[in-house]
Amino acid sequence: MDAELSGHRYRLAGGRGLLTGQEATLERSPTKTSGRRWRPGRGLLVVPPLLFVALLIFAPIIYIALFSVGLRSNVPGAEVAFSLDNWESFLFGDNNPFRARFFYSMRVALLVSIVTTAAAYPLAYFLSFVARERRYTLLLLLLAPFFTSYLLRVLAWQIMLNDEGVVTWAARTIGLIPDDGNVSWLIYSTFSVSLVLFYTWVPFVTLPIFAVLENMDHRLLEAAQDLGASRWTTFWRITFPLSLPGVIAGFVFVLIPTTGEFITPLFVGGADNQLFGNSIQAFFGTTNWNLGSVLAMALIITVVILMLIFGRFLNTDLRATAGGDET
């Protein structure tokens, strides 16, 4: 009993770092030991949340998969049998409109991700290297639109871009276009859908790039300049390569949600600019859930593949942020 109590005291002291010297170094890692002692079996607490996620994420995905191969049907009394017909027509059918829609969506998503990341980099760079003391305040300003409803922001863009909207009015007022003129691609176009997605994601992409720039070892930059590198050379040889994990993380942050986007085209897209997510949405308003499930499953598989390719960059970013927390 005595020994145990004193053991406790040593651990406690070691943990707080109050004791120095021989006594404190005798013991094992304080956190680990104490973790074993005072909270036995608390790992079991993950079970209820896991069950919840299993029921509401895994079960729906399994049902989507079953519907996509015809093993279930939403039509009462309909025959169910395993069939890859819907998959075959989606993947290989001649001029399948949904496959075309999928590739159109992926092109838009890729374009938006690249442009967004490119536009966000200078913002992150400005915050980290120019706006030194005010950087967190300015970051908060940059992120302010995120505090507001996504639907409202898209609605605001519809109000700005429509044929009698603010942008058209401004263009007419300064004489860019005639008084009764319109710019045909301003709304209900690939441009308007891409613009709103770009608008939505830029502040968000700034975050991981900013985090990487902040956690960068600035001595490397000083060393490069001490050795005679120009500012330009230092940027391209040191800063940019070191910030790539943040850039890729930001890119993925846009690419993944944009792949499944469907709200923006509802407001500012025309019939030709609806994205893959809109196709899925439309199917579940009708009766053909089986074909709709093929599309929903294709989207999930696409996102999982993207995560497998890019996931490790997201981890890098999380580690960097966690490291910043501890210092």
Binding site: V46, I61, A144, S149, A156, L207, T234, F284, T321
Partner: protein
């Protein structure tokens, strides 16, 4: 880097401030049209009025949708925070097996597209022969809010000094008592953050609600979408939208301010770095933005 290059600095500054204007422009436009004395949202302005606000508040469908969304969000946020707390405490266990699989499963809702999740839930309800309902919306929102709750709570839990809990145990407290009297109060600010982030996620969510809310009971985003198609309703929707924007900004900023104030008091100044808290905020925003 930090010293020279005035031209580069000036260009970067100009770019930043112009971009900020671009980001805030749509919000400003909404606010302006909320007070415009016209049934159409077009320039030039016709005059100032506050009548859209009074009309909006007497529109029962609109106010009902707001109350409905707020109620759903409160329930979703409470459940998500409780489940998130359980998951986070569990994940700090040294003896947890299959840790990466567990984390991956809990984080999965972050990457599954909401539209796929929404139709999957529709199918699941049909398979279980359960009617769509607001309860189903709450459960769907808990799923998507859970990763955010964990991402807020887990880092905070990890930074807690284990020796405080040990001290409580040495003084005779049981595991549960130590948790209740030491860990929980220290987690307080993070619990509030988790609640708020979950609340905002649910309040703004459209995909799941549009499929699972029964047709006579739209949530606020569902109602907003439907009425944006009705020109006569648009000015009211904009007016309420302005209030929602102001309210959510005030809420999150107040919560962040409060959390920092509380952490300063609780953790003690020497363990508190402004930047740490700012980075936590940034992390939190990463999550909010996903919605």
């Amino acid at each position: 880097m930090r010293t020279g290059g005035l031209v580069v600095k000036a260009l970067l500054s100009a770019y930043f401030w112009l971009f900020l204007a671009f980001l805030l422009a749509p919000l400003v436009v909404l606010v302006v049209f909320a007070f415009n004395d016209s049934t159409t949202a077009t320039l030039p302005l016709e005059g100032l009025t506050t009548s859209w606000f009074s009309e909006a508040f007497t529109n029962g469908q609109l106010t009902n949708a707001l109350v409905r969304s707020a109620t759903i969000a409160v329930f979703a946020a409470i459940i998500a925070t409780i489940l998130g707390l359980m998951a986070s405490v569990g994940l700090t266990s040294d003896r947890l097996r299959l840790r990466s699989l567990t984390v991956a499963s809990l984080m999965l809702p972050l990457v599954v597209p909401y539209i796929s999740l929404a139709v999957g839930l529709v199918i699941l309800l049909q398979a279980l022969a359960v009617q769509t309902s607001l309860t189903a919306v709450v459960l769907g929102h808990v799923v998507i809010a859970l990763p955010f709750a964990i991402l807020v709570l887990l880092p905070r839990l990890r930074t807690l000094d284990p020796s405080m809990n040990e001290a409580a145990r040495d003084l005779g407290a049981s595991d549960l008592t130590a948790f209740r009297l030491i860990t929980l109060p220290l987690l307080g600010p993070a619990l509030v953050s988790s609640f708020l982030i979950s609340f905002v996620t649910s309040f703004d969510e459209f995909a799941i609600a549009s499929f699972l809310a029964p047709s006579g009971q739209p949530t606020y985003p569902v109602f907003l979408y439907a009425s944006s198609r009705t020109p006569a309703l648009l000015p009211q929707v904009i007016a309420i939208g302005t209030l929602v924007i102001a309210f959510s900004m005030a809420l999150v900023l107040a919560a962040e301010g409060g959390r920092r104030w509380a952490e300063k008091r609780l953790v003690g100044a020497e363990e508190f770095a402004d930047e740490v808290s700012e980075e936590n905020l940034a992390e939190g925003l990463v999550m909010v933005a996903k919605s």
